[in-house]
Structure formats: structure tokens, C-alpha cells
């Protein structure tokens, strides 16, 4: 994975894992790699990998089974909520960047609708 090295790495890995969950690449109840394996997989620092899991656990997205490892939450509603949150973030960013270009939200939405109809 290519990182933006000006932003905390742990946040970028968290986003990547959340995306895997939302897209169904990883499912509710799945076992996750160990912290050490996560470090190898993403080529990141082991303490950063440990931090990824502690933050995900705090958000309720993962949990640990003692002696067995880290698992994805079995709460499907939480994963759906995650999807909505990520989609909202994208929409907000889209509107903000359009605004920076001097395009008001209504026009931005019209442009998106037009682009969609061209595609169909």
C-alpha cells in the first residue's frame, strides 16, 4: 500500500480496513491477521499496527478473543453505519472541493447528474 507520509499511517491503515469491510472483502466475524502480520502485510511499524487494532477496538469495529486473536465485529448494523459514514465523507469532500472551484452545491449536483446520464 502506498501511504501519504505526511498523514499518520495508522489512520490510513484504519481507513483501508474499513473500506475492506464496507466493500465486503472482509465480513462480520472474520478473523483478522495478528498485529505482527498486519505490520508485515502493510509494511508498517509494529507499534503502528498495534495502534490500528486498539483504535478499531475502541470504535467497536474489532474485538479480541483472548488467546485467539482479533476479529471483526459481528454487528452488521455497525458495518452498514460505517458505509454511510464513508459515503457521507466522500460527498462532503466533493461538495467542498467544488466550492473551492467556485461551483455552488446545486450546480455541482447538476453536473454529477449530467455526468451520470452521459455514462448510462
Amino acid at each position: 500500500m502506498k501511504f501519504n507520509t505526511s498523514m499518520p499511517i495508522y489512520l490510513q491503515v484504519i481507513t483501508a480496513i474499513k473500506r475492506d469491510l464496507v466493500t465486503g472483502k472482509m465480513k462480520a466475524g472474520d478473523k483478522l491477521p495478528s498485529g505482527r502480520e498486519l505490520a508485515t502485510l502493510y509494511e508498517i511499524n509494529p507499534n503502528t499496527a498495534a495502534r490500528v487494532y486498539s483504535e478499531l477496538e475502541q470504535e467497536g469495529i474489532t474485538f479480541t478473543r483472548r488467546g485467539l486473536g482479533t476479529y471483526v465485529t459481528e454487528d452488521e448494523a455497525l458495518i452498514r453505519r460505517l458505509k454511510e459514514e464513508m459515503a457521507e465523507e466522500l460527498v462532503t469532500r466533493f461538495l467542498e472541493e467544488m466550492k473551492e472551484l467556485g461551483i455552488p452545491p446545486e450546480d455541482a449536483i447538476n453536473m454529477a447528474t449530467n455526468a451520470l446520464s452521459r455514462k448510462l
Binding site: 501511504f3 507520509t5 505526511s6 498523514m7 499518520p8 499511517i9 495508522y10 505482527r36 505490520a39 508485515t40 502493510y42 509494511e43 508498517i44 511499524n45 509494529p46 507499534n47 503502528t48 495502534r51
Partner: protein, 234 residues
């Protein structure tokens, strides 16, 4: 665990390391950064007990560095140090004779991951393969401090990935790993701390994730600020 207090090394009138106080703690990976000739190698050699400080002292677990404490420190220098007649397997046996904590099993495991075989002759190795072999023999020791001097210098992308992976895999709560490089971005994602050395002086020790979070800065950004643009090697 490993620290230098006000350590200075002069070679004639040239000051290679100037009053450096620095502490390396277990559980972390440190990137020691600075252009060639900034004093990284000299500091490491003093920490490994191979070069005697002009003034100041090295400590291990709070005690002055001794023959006993040196056994816990593994150091990989930039100089080639295998005999030309040796095969990769011979290098392992040679190390086994020298270091009590050398694990042949770990050595073969590392060789496999690095895609090296015991029958290869050291004189036939490419620079990337040689770099990987040097890492493998160093990492096969169960040392508490691992110091690697420029392990990524002059080797290709894939070998670099093998090496950075072996560094993260070797990391552990009871181990301190110190890696020097003048190639800054290579160590960006695998290190906890960046130690910046300039003209023999310790400039600062940065917690890398913190400076990303607080200042939005990568270690490449910090490197540029500290050393400027003019004529630096990357």
C-alpha cells in the same frame, strides 16, 4: 537501554561526533538519518564498542559499555566482512562460532525469505544479495540491540522490501533496532523515531507518527527543513 552521554569522537582535528547524548529504548525502531559523513557510522561504532570515544561514555542498561554488554548488541557495518572463499552456509557457521546467541534455524529461515541458498558463493553475490546476507547473519542473532548501518544502500527495490520486512519482523518489545540511512523515505513507514544527525551533532529525535499528526510532516519534510536543498544525496 543503550545510551550515549555527551559522547565525542575526534579523528585528528576533525570532529566526527560532537557531544551527542542519545538514548535507544527497547520496543522501538529508530531511523538514524543524515547525509554521508554526518557521524552516524562513528556513533554506531562507538555503541558497538569498536571505536573508543574521545570523551563521554556509552552505557548499556545504565552501566558503562563492557565486554559483557557488547554481547547483547548486534552491529552490521557497511564494510564487507566475508572471506571470498565462503559460501552462504559457511558464513552462518562462521557466525555460529563467534556468537553464542546466533541461531542457525533463524538464519536458514531468513535465507529462505531472502531467497538465498546456502550453496551460493559469497564472491558471486550481487550487491543486493550481499546486502540481504549481511542482514540475515546479523538478524539471526538474538541480540537486544540491532544496529544496521546503511542496509538499503545501493540495492534494488525488491531487495529493499525484503530487508524492510525483515526489520519489522525482528522488532519486538525487548529489542531496540537502529537503522541508519541517507535514503530517508525508505524508513518512513517502518520506524517509530527519526534521529537527525548533522555535522556530528544530534539535531533532534522525532516521534514520526506524532509529527505527522501534529505538524502534518513526513520525515522527508523534516529532512528537507534540517539539511536544506543544496547538494544533498537522496
Amino acid at each position: 537501554m543503550l545510551e550515549s552521554r555527551n559522547i565525542t569522537k575526534k579523528f585528528g582535528s576533525k570532529i566526527a561526533v560532537d557531544q551527542v547524548t542519545l538514548k535507544i529504548e527497547p520496543g522501538y525502531i529508530y531511523a538514524m538519518l543524515g547525509p554521508n559523513g554526518s557521524g552516524k557510522t562513528t556513533w554506531m561504532k562507538m555503541a558497538a564498542g569498536l571505536v573508543k570515544p574521545t570523551s563521554g561514555e556509552m552505557f548499556f542498561d545504565g552501566e558503562p559499555l563492557s565486554v559483557e554488554s557488547r554481547r547483547h548488541i548486534a552491529y552490521m557495518s557497511t564494510e564487507p566482512y566475508f572471506y571470498a572463499w565462503m559460501t552462504v552456509g559457511d558464513v552462518g557457521r562462521y557466525y555460529k562460532d563467534f556468537f553464542e546467541d546466533f541461531s542457525p534455524a533463524r538464519f536458514s529461515d531468513l535465507l529462505r525469505r531472502m531467497e538465498l541458498t546456502e550453496d551460493l558463493k559469497t564472491k558471486s553475490l550481487s550487491s543486493g544479495m550481499m546486502a540481504k546476507l549481511k542482514i540475515a547473519v546479523t538478524m539471526a542473532r538474538d541480540a537486544r540491540v540491532i544496529m544496521l548501518d546503511e542496509p538499503l544502500n545501493g540495492i534494488d527495490l525488491l531487495a529493499r522490501e525484503d530487508i524492510t520486512r525483515s526489520i519489522t519482523e525482528a522488532a519486538g518489545e525487548d529489542k531496540a533496532i537502529l537503522v541508519s540511512s541517507h535514503l530517508v523515505d525508505e524508513l518512513e513507514t517502518i520506524s517509530d523515531y527519526a534521529i537527525f544527525i548533522k555535522n556530528g551533532h544530534l539535531i533532534e529525535v522525532d516521534n514520526i507518527e506524532e509529527s505527522r499528526a501534529e505538524a502534518g510532516k513526513s520525515i522527508v519534510d523534516r529532512y528537507r527543513e534540517i539539511y536544506g536543498h543544496g547538494g544533498q544525496e537522496w
